[in-house]
């Protein structure tokens, strides 16, 4: 069964109710070709478990890392990702688009 938005935000709620630190990442803007539409969610718990997606798997790793920081500080972040720049060793999108992802803590 594929996960729907319902399962994803439901998972965030379940984690939070189980007393875990949780962050919700949401695609808030896209430019050019982007793998997931605006409004797509990735949810992350304090152990680094995650569910859902904000890209085709290209930037999830970095979003999870940032989310752990957001869970720690409680301060929301707005992240932007563009084309992969391998020389900079930074996550990017191979499709050539750009996305903005808002990461906030639940609770």
């Amino acid at each position: 069964m594929l996960s729907t938005d319902n399962d994803i935000l439901g998972q965030a709620e379940a984690w939070a109710k189980a007393g875990k630190g949780v962050a919700v990442a949401t695609v808030v803007e896209t430019w050019g070709s982007a793998p997931r539409p605006v409004g797509s969610h990735l949810v992350i718990d304090e152990d680094g478990s995650f569910f859902g997606s904000v890209s085709g798997g290209c930037v999830e790793g970095e979003v999870v890392t940032e989310a752990l920081d957001v869970i720690g500080t409680g301060k929301a972040k707005l992240l932007e990702f563009g084309v992969a720049d391998e020389t900079a060793w930074r996550a990017g999108l191979s499709c050539g688009g750009r996305i903005a992802v808002y990461v906030e803590k639940v609770g």
Binding site: L2, T4, L9, V24, V28, V38, V106
Partner: protein, 225 residues
């Protein structure tokens, strides 16, 4: 985001109520807006548009992001037939919540539809309890006017985003005559997709299911707004 807000958003979704979460991208307080609380909201007009289109996004000229939740689409299939056996698992994979209605108990057996809600009742009995709405794909596949016709009248009344009915052009022409006699207007009758499904030359039940699901997807993605 407060946990109570996330819970409220999830509750709205499981109750099939549309809702919009308004998030301040500069870190301010978020709020949930529903049909009941929409009037008088500072972003009323933008939220109304978002609810109609179902599209999430930043409100132009602001730092407010709208997470739009419209109910997950449902699928009501009239007829526990061979095509339904292929259509229902495919529809689930695409994200629909399917249910089958067929009063003919020889067809509506759990063995033929493992794990699927199959109501062995006449449409008049089964449909009122299913809360058929705008966000429902409605597909009549029995070929039997006693079953399909009243079901289609119900689908018209609920303004389903997709209404399809199995049958050749000739069969459909006779259906239109009967439904007209039952009081259906030419406008609603024109909404029936018949022959059902996109014309891709489908022959087997599974291929016909693909063509139906493709047409439903088209209606959902290109039509509902």
């Amino acid at each position: 985001m407060r946990l109570a807000l996330l819970s409220a958003l999830n509750a709205a979704r499981s109750d099939r109520r549309a809702a919009v979460l308004v998030t301040d991208l500069d870190g301010g307080a978020a709020r949930l807006v529903t049909a009941e609380t929409l009037a008088g909201d500072p972003l009323e007009e933008a939220i109304r548009t978002a609810l109609r289109t179902g599209r999430s996004g930043v409100v132009e000229g602001t730092r407010a992001f709208l997470t739009v939740q419209v109910p997950p689409a449902r699928m009501v299939v009239i007829g526990a037939v061979h095509i339904s056996q292929a259509l229902v698992p495919m529809a689930r994979m695409v994200g629909y919540d399917p249910v089958i209605v067929d009063p003919r108990t020889a067809f509506s057996t759990p063995e033929r539809f493992p794990g699927v809600t199959v109501l062995a009742q006449w449409p008049d009995e089964a449909l009122p309890g299913l809360k058929v709405d705008r966000y429902t794909a409605f597909i009549a596949l029995t070929h039997d006017p006693k079953i399909d016709d009243p079901a289609l009248m119900h689908a018209f009344e609920k303004d389903c985003f997709y209404i399809g009915a199995l049958g050749s052009r000739k069969t459909h022409a006779r259906r239109v005559e009967r439904l007209t006699a039952n009081g259906a207007s030419p406008e609603v009758l024109a909404r029936i997709k018949a022959p059902v499904g996109l014309a891709i030359g489908a022959i087997t039940p599974a291929e016909i299911a693909v063509s139906i699901l493709a047409e439903v997807t088209q209606a959902w993605r290109q039509g509902i707004a």
